[in-house]
């Protein structure tokens, strides 16, 4: 017996470079939902509240970024058609981030910008750097650049910039050296992360994975390059307006981003219409719903940029903007995509030696569909209640929504542990 194939094709990413990220992210989501419930009074105050800052960073880094880093160790080889350069670097980036995130979050929570926040920020920055090196080494040079790989590399560049700016702001609290107040740099830090990291990455990865899962014939690389230019162009325009042309209305970069988003929706509608697989499973439905949820923060951003609200209303809408990004769009895409990726990683680990010899269960049999549906329902109800609560200052509604989101996070954790602890059935 023998096989003849390029060995490089089978240097797959081991589960150990992926699963710890998922488990860490799931725990972060659980803690975040609990913090939202316990600290919901902080939402009545300005968004620059220590508890709100702690929650935002736990959601952005512990939940969103950790799950993306882990998933990308598995997906980068699929997207770039090259194996992951180093497992050790993957493990190292996990350890650094896993240590740094709680320190930073604790620093914000007690608003101690001394060693906890500084060491947290340093470790996170180092983790991003390690991840970036691994990514660059994995994509290699000398070949035609794949559009999806360019999306990921650029997004990681923005993540590095976000983390660097974040650490700079932490230092600026104790040794003020920047020309403006720290608070004035926050939108820059936030948008480098939200648009540069999350939006660019989700569009780059989604434009590859969604056609793969739906088995769609639709291809439009030129459109993807336009979307890439639009998101980066909008973000660069925003940077220009911040540093060089302070009078430039935020509507301009906002409109460029909105158009890019519209083009991404157009791309996905083409993918959806040309799909060969007609039946769309539940995790895929939640992932597609998250695309629609991307519209909410973009519209809110345009509202905030275009209308003059009183200070407290502006602050509340800014809070809502952050909420719909982290508990809405990013959470929805992770809840959906987790169950399109994690079960495969575990299935491959357990049944790799058995496939073709005996009948094996399918990867989707590794998680509970009932738990998934209950999680999706409580999540949607919780998101709507909490969002409406922030919007209308209905604090009881916010608490109810936070409670439902916590329930959803518990169900999510149960389901991913069920998947990870799956025992071979054959």
């Amino acid at each position: 017996m023998s096989t003849a194939f390029p060995k490089a094709h089978f240097r797959h990413t081991a589960a150990s470079a992926v699963v710890p990220f998922y488990l860490y992210a799931a725990f972060s989501f659980l803690i975040s939902a609990a913090l939202l419930l316990v600290n919901s009074p902080a939402f009545r105050e300005h968004y620059f509240h220590p508890h709100t800052l702690a929650l935002t960073h736990l959601m952005a880094l512990g939940w969103g970024t950790m799950v993306i880093l882990g998933a990308s160790h598995q997906l980068v080889p699929v997207l770039t058609e090259r194996p992951l350069y180093s497992m050790r670097l993957a493990h190292l980036s996990f350890i650094l981030a896993a240590l740094g995130i709680p320190l930073l979050v604790y620093g914000f929570y007690v608003f101690d910008m001394g060693w906890p926040a500084k060491w947290g920020g340093r470790l996170i920055l180092l983790s991003v750097l390690v991840y970036l090196v691994n990514l660059l080494k994995s994509t290699g040079r000398g070949r035609e650049m794949n559009v999806h790989a360019v999306f990921i590399i650029t997004a990681t560049g923005w993540l590095f910039l976000t983390a660097f700016l974040g650490l700079t702001l932490v230092y600026n609290f104790t040794y003020p050296f920047l020309p403006k107040e720290t608070l004035e740099y926050l939108p820059l830090h936030a948008h480098a992360g939200i648009l540069g990291w999350f939006l660019l990455l989700v569009t780059g990865v989604g434009s590859r994975l969604i056609p793969m899962f739906l088995i769609s014939k639709y291809q439009h690389n030129r459109l993807l390059w336009v979307i890439y230019a639009g998101i980066n162009g909008g973000l660069l325009l925003y940077l220009l307006s911040f540093f060089i042309f302070p009078g430039l209305p935020f509507m301009y970069p906002g409109a460029v981003i909105l158009i890019s988003f519209g083009l991404f929706v157009f791309y996905l509608s083409g993918v959806y219409r040309a799909r060969i697989r007609k039946q769309v499973d539940e995790p895929m439905k939640v992932s597609l719903l998250s695309v629609a949820m991307m519209l909410l923060p973009i519209l809110l951003l345009l509202l905030l940029a275009g209308w003059r609200y009183s200070g407290t209303t502006h602050a509340r809408y800014t809070l809502l903007y952050g909420f719909v990004i982290f508990f809405g769009w990013i959470t929805a895409i992770i809840l959906g995509m987790t169950f399109k990726t994690l079960p495969f990683i575990i299935w491959n680990k357990i049944y790799h030696e058995k496939a073709g010899r005996v009948k094996t269960p399918n990867p989707k049999d590794l998680y509970s569909e009932m738990l998934f549906n209950a999680m999706a329902l409580t999540y949607l109800a919780g998101f709507l209640c909490a969002g409406a609560g922030i919007f209308g200052e209905g604090w009881l509604l916010l608490r109810l929504g936070a409670g439902l989101l916590l329930l959803s996070a518990i169900l999510y954790n149960l389901n991913i542990w069920k998947t990870c602890l799956h025992k071979p059935l054959v």
Binding site: T3, F5, T13, F344, N348, A355, G356
Partner: protein
């Protein structure tokens, strides 16, 4: 779904065996998915050569699928050596899915 073979009868038996090997994500077998390009048998009757592809290079399930194809043929043609070659020339495309496969995916 065109499969090249130098032995049509044995090829039919081989494909029937490979219909038990499913793509885990789609639940569709590798034959109807059009992943099998060629199944050849040597004259002495002790070797089988399979050329197959994947829906995408670096498919995370690639190694598992290739190993599953090999095991399924070893079990069906007991005692024969099975060689599986992975090829992306030509790359897989949607036209390779059989009508039965399309019906399955359309359900």
């Amino acid at each position: 779904m065109n499969v090249i073979s130098n032995h049509p009868i044995n090829c039919t038996i081989a494909l029937a065996a490979l219909e038990q090997v499913n793509d885990p994500e789609l639940g569709l077998n590798v034959v109807d998915l059009g992943l099998i390009y060629q199944v050849d048998f040597d004259e002495a009757g002790n070797r089988i050569y399979v050329r197959m592809t994947l829906t995408t290079q670096f498919c995370p399930m690639g190694e598992t699928l290739v190993a599953a194809v090999q095991r399924a043929l070893e079990a069906t043609f007991n005692g024969r050596e099975v060689e599986v070659e992975l090829s992306f020339d030509p790359p897989w495309n949607y036209e390779r899915i059989s009508e039965r496969g399309k019906d399955f995916l359309n359900r």
